[in-house]
């Protein structure tokens, strides 16, 4: 079967900064892949590249069988990217946000109800404006608006960061559910022990390149020494 993600010598420049400096990566459908590495290593850019939001400066890549150089539009509608930003409109309620993104993706209103239920966005919360939500509730609403799209590839960028216990559990359940449903999940997180139970394949990202890292036991917390790197990622 086709690879979910296939990258060959992928280079992505953000401005003049090579966020990705020649990535080779293969992910088979249904796999759970954990991206590990220091801040500024290029994890976020790698996820955005896989979502079709960043372009390849050189190199080749295919996501779900679509060429990243020529068919990024096709890639985009089949993936879900949960980034640092929630993609929600502050002035709309949770329900309005989720149904807007559902309709934008061509999903049904039944899907909306189900997604809201799954992320426990029911009752008064459903009719609250997003601006009044806590960080955790926002993230859950954001996830609900992605769930309705029934993506084949989940790209999760630090999904646990800055969240309360309930929402962290929700994220774990999401990953488990997506994997059970046969979707591919690629995530970058510092909460390695939470994900370890899912037995992901661990891939190290350092300095804009990927190194295969077969030893899952070697998943201690990342090296904080090069965090300053992050500042250079101009957009």
């Amino acid at each position: 079967m086709e690879s979910a993600v296939r990258l060959r010598a992928a280079v992505t420049l953000l401005g003049r900064f090579p966020a990705l400096a020649g990535v080779d990566l293969d992910i088979t459908p249904g796999e759970i892949v954990l991206l590990k590495g220091p801040n500024g290593a290029g994890k976020t850019t790698l996820l955005r590249l896989c979502a079709g939001l960043c372009s390849l400066s050189t190199g080749q890549g295919w996501v779900l069988g679509h060429d990243l150089n020529s068919e990024r539009r096709m890639v985009r509608r089949r993936v879900a990217l949960l980034g640092h930003r929630t993609g929600l409109y502050d002035d709309l309620t949770v329900t309005e946000n989720v149904s807007f993104w559902a309709r934008a993706a061509g999903a049904d209103s039944i899907d909306v109800d189900e997604a809201m239920e799954r992320l426990s966005l029911t009752g008064r919360l459903a009719d609250t404006r997003v601006a009044r939500l806590s960080a955790g509730q926002r993230r859950r609403a954001s996830i609900a608006s992605l769930v309705v799209r029934r993506p084949e590839l989940w790209l999760l960028d630090e999904p646990h960061a800055g969240l309360d216990q309930q929402t962290r559990d929700t994220v774990d359940a999401l990953v488990r559910g997506a994997a059970a449903a046969g979707a591919t999940v690629v995530l970058a997180t510092h909460e390695l022990e939470r994900i370890a139970v899912l037995e992901p394949r661990v891939v190290s990202v350092v300095g804009g390149v990927v190194r295969a890292d077969d030893d899952p036991a070697d998943s201690e917390s990342p090296d904080p020494s090069s965090e300053a790197e992050d500042d250079r990622r101009v957009s």
Partner: protein
């Protein structure tokens, strides 16, 4: 395609109705500009009546700059712009939806400002049909050109200063055409109002087509 455009327009308009930024900030700003014009031209009622069409449209253009900037700021605030790209909606629909929402806001603004001009500058309307048609066509023209340039500068750090520089020279023909049409409608000068309406409609059509087809390329940020 129309369904998606309708979805986008509905979303933008609903956000504007909720946030009331247009009503609470942009409209008062526009009325203030009208009042400032009155101060600048002294209490000369005759001059105000003569120049009312031009002053009206300059005010609309200034307010339109704010409305256009706001329309894109809403999408950029928390990453919704990325999600719009990821949603797979055809860029033509996004363009159509955003332009339609801006046009509707401009029409509302024109109605309110028009009332202000009638009250403050003491003009009388002679040709209602021309007035309405010119108002609609000009709103469509400003909205299409504005959406095109709004997308062009969206995401740039200098968008607030760059948008006026890029957009105002381009919408100069709208100012000329709409002013002449309104002069005719107000009866302050014998202009061939309906011919100017043709120019306005042509402008809106050209920028509508141009915007629809280049919008995708502009949104494809790196």
């Amino acid at each position: 395609m129309f369904r998606d455009a309708w979805l986008i327009a509905g979303k933008d308009l609903r956000i504007e109705m909720r946030s009331r930024v247009g009503l609470n900030q942009i409209v008062p700003f526009a009325v203030t500009v009208l009042v400032l014009f009155a101060f600048a031209l002294d209490t000369d009622q005759e001059a105000l009546r003569t120049y009312a069409p031009g002053l009206f449209w300059v005010t609309v253009l200034l307010a339109a700059l704010l409305a256009i900037g706001r329309s894109f700021a809403v999408d950029l605030a928390d990453g919704a712009a990325d999600r719009l790209l990821l949603s797979g909606i055809d860029p033509i629909s996004v363009f159509g939806g955003k332009a339609a929402a801006i046009a509707v806001q401009l029409v509302v603004l024109e109605v309110l400002l028009g009332a202000g001009v009638v009250l403050l500058f003491d003009v009388t309307v002679h040709r209602y049909g021309l007035l309405v048609c010119a108002g609609l066509a000009a709103a469509a023209g400003v909205a299409t050109a504005g959406t095109l340039y709004g997308a062009l500068v969206a995401g740039l750090g200098v968008r607030e200063t760059l948008l006026p520089l890029l957009l105002l020279p381009v919408v100069a023909p709208v100012l000329i055409g709409a002013t002449r049409a309104f002069q005719d409608a107000f009866g302050v000068a014998g202009a061939e109002g309906w011919a100017w309406l043709g120019l306005l409609a042509g402008f809106a059509a050209i920028y509508g087509v141009f915007g629809a087809f280049s919008y995708g390329a502009l949104l494809e940020e790196a």
